[in-house]
Symmetry: C2
Subunit: 553 residues, 2 copies
Amino acid sequence: MHEAVRGLAIVAALWTTAAVAQVTVVTAAKVHTMDASRPLASAFAYDADGRLLAVGDRDAVLAGHPGARRIDLGDATVVPGLIDAHGHVANLGYTFLRADLVGTRSKAEVIERLRASAKGLAPGDWLLGRGWDQNDWPEKDFPTAADLDAAFPDRPVWLGRIDGHAGWANSAALRAVTRDLGGNWQPDGGRILRTGGRPTGVFVDAAMDLVDAVVPPVDEATATRALELGMKAAVEHGLTGVHDAGVSLADLRRYQRLADAGKMPLRIDAMADGDGESFGWLCEKGLYRHPGGRLQMRAVKLYIDGALGSRGAALIEPYSDDHDTHGLLVIAPTKLREVVARARGCGVQVATHAIGDRGNREVLDAFEQALGTHPGDHRWRIEHAQVLAPADLPRLAKLGIIASMQPTHATSDMPWAQDRLGPQRIVGSYAWRQLRDAGTRIALGSDFPVESVDPRLGLYAAATRTDADGLPAGGWRPEEKLTAFEALRGFTLDAAYAGFDEARVGSLEAGKRADFVVLAEDPLAIDPSGLKSLTVRATYVDGRPVFEAPASR
Amino acid sequence: MHEAVRGLAIVAALWTTAAVAQVTVVTAAKVHTMDASRPLASAFAYDADGRLLAVGDRDAVLAGHPGARRIDLGDATVVPGLIDAHGHVANLGYTFLRADLVGTRSKAEVIERLRASAKGLAPGDWLLGRGWDQNDWPEKDFPTAADLDAAFPDRPVWLGRIDGHAGWANSAALRAVTRDLGGNWQPDGGRILRTGGRPTGVFVDAAMDLVDAVVPPVDEATATRALELGMKAAVEHGLTGVHDAGVSLADLRRYQRLADAGKMPLRIDAMADGDGESFGWLCEKGLYRHPGGRLQMRAVKLYIDGALGSRGAALIEPYSDDHDTHGLLVIAPTKLREVVARARGCGVQVATHAIGDRGNREVLDAFEQALGTHPGDHRWRIEHAQVLAPADLPRLAKLGIIASMQPTHATSDMPWAQDRLGPQRIVGSYAWRQLRDAGTRIALGSDFPVESVDPRLGLYAAATRTDADGLPAGGWRPEEKLTAFEALRGFTLDAAYAGFDEARVGSLEAGKRADFVVLAEDPLAIDPSGLKSLTVRATYVDGRPVFEAPASR
């Protein structure tokens, strides 16, 4: 271990001395620059600091930089580093530290995975997990505490649903909650499921706080490890940037320490997590960027409603498959307006989660009021922007609001979305093309770990609107498809724009950072059905590899 | 013949009596309505007059119209009638009346086709043809009169090049020209090719007038026949509307007589052919629509420059493959402004051919000046909008100008367009996606007979940007591709809009006309590579079939 560390130090020292004037020229079969004035190139040069000096034709770039270090990528295609405009890094990291229940096909499989995960725990430690989805199980009903109690009679178990909008506890976890969960009371913005006045074990939206409050806090090392694991998974999939949609002040401090230590493999645009401590800090201290260039906080992430899968998204009219509910607002519109006005006052970008047409309308109304007649370059965002009333579709462009959308949400939700919404409302839902046509800028992302962190799946979903098996043939509501190029732009230049970052990243142009991904295939030349299996050979940030696939060495 | 006519009359009489209250319900696997509020349906109903009464789900439409006549299209897909926003109907018709030389691979093949075509002619009749392209022949040089003289020593032969920008005469035709074609003089805006001071037989651009002037005029019956044949070819390919880009007053009269006689199988939006007789009539008499609803004239077609293939398109900087030429303006900018101001004064829509970046800029400047600060709902158009300076790309949307573009021009020109334009200018050329992103409405067409009248080829070119063999893989400058849906919208709703016709046609909605196409495949579900071979089973205008494929009967 000591030897290795010393070896690294020597390499670093050599790099430092040799690199002062060292320029790198990368040549490849194709470079899709995302620069409209030169979309296609075959080479680019950057300096030792990772700043692009030139992008152009192979011969010209090589001739312009004699003596440069050369990286010849052969038949590979280079695209700008991919940016996920909406992910949750710590939560992604915890999927590696906790039980991962994504894709379980039955409760029996859940129990099986939980048993494996519990092996490393001390007696009495909470068993945490996430990713279950009762829609994938034969019975499709919400599970209960009893389903877990046989396997885990004493150890508290607490499991988040795939969308993060519901949690499933066993009886040991219920016993840990001090407040009496029986009766018929409900917390604001949440719901305790009960039968006969007794909690079943499932908690929806804000009701999850009741259990979360008694889960022992993670220690500092684990919390930092989660961020590191989340970032590692991101770069392994070609991401060079993530907009982390909801970061506590404690996590921001952890990121800062990692950034100070040079341990950020990619760029994190951290959004303060709601109207709390980190927003207070941001509003008071002003927009933040770490001097290393890989960490910034300039936005606050708010919520107006829940999710469609759990019927928490706020709709104007009742759910088509449950006429008794309109979903729910998780914040009062007046309160939203207050927070938004405060953000406006201190120059903080606002990114608000809105899924239902009621939720989106409330956010548009609040944004419109706060932005006033001289909106300036605000770049406020609606996260998900999933279901919009047709009349509201043009409002985003008019107000200069960015739609931050997740293509894989559409393909995950398509089997049941029309049941929830009916044939009229479905028309304004997942409406990428209509929003683009109205002039809206769309930043793309995944909402990982709700969906996979893998941006190839997002590109694929955007350009095909089909599931992994290519169904339905031709895509679900194919009129809303994006071209492969548009999908790529959503994950590069337009995501960068949504983070006020387009002068630094998002395209390969002289003066910007050398953040790029090396692909074995050309994503704009292959059939879109192949986007999900693109081969990521390497990911570079600031001109240095942060991931190299074993096969490419 | 008499029997057949009488039969038809009886059918018509029956129809009239029976049809008063007769409603038709069409059911199909899928109906892509192009109505954003209900993109997908499975049935529609229309009255005896061809007016849509309802579009929706099969069961609801059938239940709402008991006793209706039913047309069950089974597994077929219905799309709104396709509209070619830029074609030349008479010229298309003449390709059936004259020798069609499109696709000839050698001069020998030209002679062969000419011999076949000459069989029906009287001695001394001119043999006319069009469609040759020396680039498709082994020698690639311009042909000469001598190439034709052996086969046609006495009969005058006069053959237009594929792009209409050059003509090829034999010696008998040269002898018919009264003016001495020898020497070194050249006509304004044209060029007589010569060797040793003697004409070779090829005439470029305005020089073609010298021969055209001595071709005997076509008789009235032939001129009308050309329109009929052009329209027939259009409906056989699924077109229900054509914007005829340049119609003389004589041809408008012919169209009117056909419309009076109920012999218009589809809708013609006739544009007056330049600053001439028909524009004068239009400006004086006001916008025209035939009471039958299948003929209108409300626009004037102007030209600012030539074509890229013959280096006639006006460029700001010299041609990249001929530094001595910038191309040419075919009208002085001051004159263009005069005509445009006149059109503005009498409420006539202006559609101006512009190919080069200089041409497009001149048109944008002229339009901007004429439209002033209160432009209103003018729908002025740039035809082709082929090469734009990047700074001019956003101007179309800003001024509300429609880009009337031809996808097949891009795929025909792609082998040599970058040679003409160089790597910088190519970026603003055939820039469908950039124009769409800037908010421009794009109406699609073919420019038939310069390209094929077949709109399937346009849909294919728009969504693939490849040639018929699927090359280059992934498409030429794939960042500019349209989705199949956008391509279909360009040939339906957006083309209708460009003709002020979206309240009547372009989508299938109650109140609009029952113009539709029956396809064996779903153009939005198949791979875009299959768009070129969609099966058109039938074409309906005003609810009645104007074309039915033999196999579908």
